[in-house]
């Protein structure tokens, strides 16, 4: 389709037309390559042996799945993956309902006014490193160090403010009118929230949940300081592959590829629901 368009348009407008249409594509392709190159590089390295991994210009060398086997055999990759999954799912499962309720309170009752809204946002503006040390101290006292529970709590400090801010807009505007209609129809505030506001904002809530999961999945600093040997998450585990003997680049690449799988699997849903959520305003 697009190529056909190109041809007919090019013929119609001559050389200048072709240049005008082709030039943006060349630039866009260059930028796309810039972003894709590291990913493709990692993908290639993950299938090669240790020796060829560093070679420039790149060589093919022995191609195989040995790196993937190695990360599971020589390193506790399965444990990292499981920890990441539990922490990310746990943090999202707790953050999402709380953020939904907070966002609803902000949107409908203006709870706490501008002060509280900005307060929630302010916690996001601080560099995470500032939060890590107090958390470290508190977790020591509470006996939460090195535990997955502690990590879930730590991740909540990131995802709860972020998700609630993101969700406020989904409860503002026309949804309020729908709730009013429901309340006159006989619904209590809770029923209107449960049967009208939440289903109507569902695409937004789902998108927020996916973002919250990815946020937690990729989080490094908190996990590095607060987790222990048995609760290490993927980003921390991957960092550990930079050993004293040098970076274990080939297994690191394989581990990176595996850790990217859940995020990539979620992206299509995220895109679909974000777009659906953002175009909800069209009521009339």
């Amino acid at each position: 389709m697009i190529e056909n368009d190109h041809k007919s348009q090019g013929a119609a407008f001559g050389m200048r037309g072709i240049v005008k249409r082709v030039l943006p594509h060349i630039i866009l392709c260059a930028f796309s390559l810039m972003i894709l190159m590291p990913l493709l590089w990692i993908l290639r390295v993950s299938f090669t042996d240790r020796l060829t991994a560093y070679k420039i210009p790149p060589e093919i060398g022995t191609v195989g799945l040995m790196n993937y086997v190695e990360i599971f055999q020589r390193y506790p990759f399965a444990s990292w993956f499981l920890n990441s999954l539990i922490v990310a799912l746990g943090a999202t499962a707790i953050a999402l309902p709380l953020a939904t309720a907070l966002a609803y309170a902000f949107a409908r009752f203006n709870t706490g006014g501008t002060f509280l809204r900005l307060g929630v946002l302010a916690s996001q503006m601080l560099p995470p490193i500032i939060l890590v040390l107090p958390l470290f101290g508190m977790f020591l006292m509470a006996g939460l160090m090195h535990s997955r529970t502690g990590l879930v709590i730590a991740h909540l400090t990131i995802s709860l403010p972020f998700l609630s801010w993101m969700l406020v807009s989904f409860f503002e505007g026309d949804v309020a009118r729908l709730e009013e209609a429901a309340r006159v129809d006989g619904a209590t505030r809770w029923q209107a929230f449960r049967h009208i506001a939440v289903p109507v904002a569902a695409p937004g809530i789902l998108a927020a949940g996916l973002l919250g999961f990815i946020l937690s999945w990729n989080e490094f600093l908190f996990a590095l300081v607060l987790s222990g040997p048995s609760s290490q998450t993927l980003p921390v585990g991957l960092a550990a592959l930079e050993t004293h003997a040098g970076v274990e680049i080939a297994p690191l690449a394989a581990a990176t590829v595996v850790s990217l799988v859940p995020v990539f699997a979620l992206l299509p849903f995220l895109r679909k629901h974000l777009i659906k959520g953002l175009s909800l305003g069209a009521l009339k």
């Binding site: 209609a181 429901a182 129809d185 049967h195 109507v200």
Partner: protein
């Protein structure tokens, strides 16, 4: 079915803005009441207070004899139809219609029966499985109406439900609403800024401005005896011509034009003689024939332009030696070139006078 009574209702917002001030209105059981006024006059706020969607700052609201100031909207047993319909986008038409009944745990068999009856009545029977996004504006309007009807509430509150429809559909929905009211006999409070809707649909009209009630009455009563220049200038299209004049004991002068006062009016206006007034002349009280009205006075009008509407022609003109414009309703074959002069016979029995300072109507005998 129920009466709705508002006594000294106020709505104050925290920022000090008074949206509604001291509104008292008795809406009879089964009455079709119109709240009419320009945007920002407090009519929608008043309706929302009746529905329970806005708190009442002061005053008492009774529905069916019971005070409901603090009753939750869910328990007031009224139904509201919004301007943008507010259909639940994630539910089918059938679920939209039955939502209120399902909340009340009505038996499923009864719900299905009622939904079918209402859907048949409104001609939306074949749309029941669709979602609101798949409906046209007129169909959504019907579903919104059906959602209100299906619950058989004590009263219907309509918040400009016709304003999003095109002119033709609006006219037919107007007729349907009137018929519906006749069939059901339920109390209806209809908020609108459209004076045609107000005149044609309402049994009584309550005209509001700046948060207060200006006048309440049957459409023709409000049309014939507007209490002030605001009502006079708001109702009917084109509205009453309002011109500055001078009242003497036996005549009114509007610039160079002098209208003799009939005996009966002389007595009525005697106490105001010698004062400046606003003279109200309805566009439809000007006649080309001299014998069209028993007590008439000739008025010379210089044509500025004519608006040919089909069934009638609106002449926009000025009085001799004056720049104040006035509109005159003429028969459909009337034509006038700009600058041409026409003599009309004004029906003096319809003359309205308003105080120039307070803009309120000067007392007028009901019959001349």
């Amino acid at each position: 079915m129920a009466s709705i009574s508002l006594s000294n209702i106020h709505k104050l917002y925290p920022n000090g803005y008074a949206a509604v001030r001291d509104v008292s209105l008795d809406i009879r059981d089964g009455e079709f009441m119109i709240l009419l006024g320009p945007s920002g006059c407090g009519k929608s706020t008043t309706l929302r207070m009746i529905a329970g969607l806005e708190t009442i700052s002061a005053g008492d609201l009774h529905i069916g004899g019971a005070r409901v100031n603090d009753v939750d909207p869910a328990d007031r047993d009224v139904a509201i139809v919004f301007q943008n319909y507010a259909l639940y986008p994630h539910m089918t038409v059938a679920d939209n219609l039955s939502f209120g009944l399902r909340l009340r745990n009505v038996e499923r068999r009864i719900i299905e029966g009622r939904v079918a009856t209402i859907a048949g009545m409104l001609g939306i029977g074949d749309l029941l499985a669709r979602k609101p996004a798949q409906l046209s504006g007129g169909q959504r309007q019907r579903v919104a109406l059906g959602r209100a009807l299906v619950r058989e509430p004590k009263a219907f509150l309509l918040d400009e439900p016709l304003s999003n429809l095109d002119a033709k559909l609006r006219a037919s929905m107007r007729t349907e609403l009137i018929k519906l009211h006749r069939t059901l006999g339920t109390t209806i409070v209809h908020v609108t800024h459209d004076q045609v809707e107000a005149m044609t649909m309402g049994e009584r009209i309550c005209i509001m401005k700046d948060g207060v009630i200006v006048q309440v009455g049957a459409p023709m009563e409000v049309y014939r005896n507007p209490v002030n220049t605001f009502v006079a200038g708001f109702l009917a299209s084109p509205p009453m011509n309002l011109l500055h004049g001078m009242l003497d004991s036996d005549r009114i002068s509007i610039g160079d034009v002098v209208l003799p006062l009939p005996q009966s009016l002389r007595r009525a206006f005697a106490s105001h003689a010698g004062r400046k007034v606003i003279v109200g002349l309805r566009p439809e009280d000007f006649h080309l024939k001299a014998d069209a009205a028993p007590v008439a006075a000739p008025i010379e009008v210089v044509s500025v332009t004519t608006e040919v509407l089909g069934p009638e022609v609106i002449l926009v003109g000025t009085l001799k030696n004056s720049s104040a414009e006035l509109h005159i309703r003429c028969p459909r074959d009337f034509r006038s070139e700009p600058g041409a002069m026409t003599v009309f016979n004004y029906d003096l029995s319809q003359l309205q006078l308003f105080d120039i300072e307070t803009t309120t109507a000067l007392m007028r005998p009901v019959k001349i």
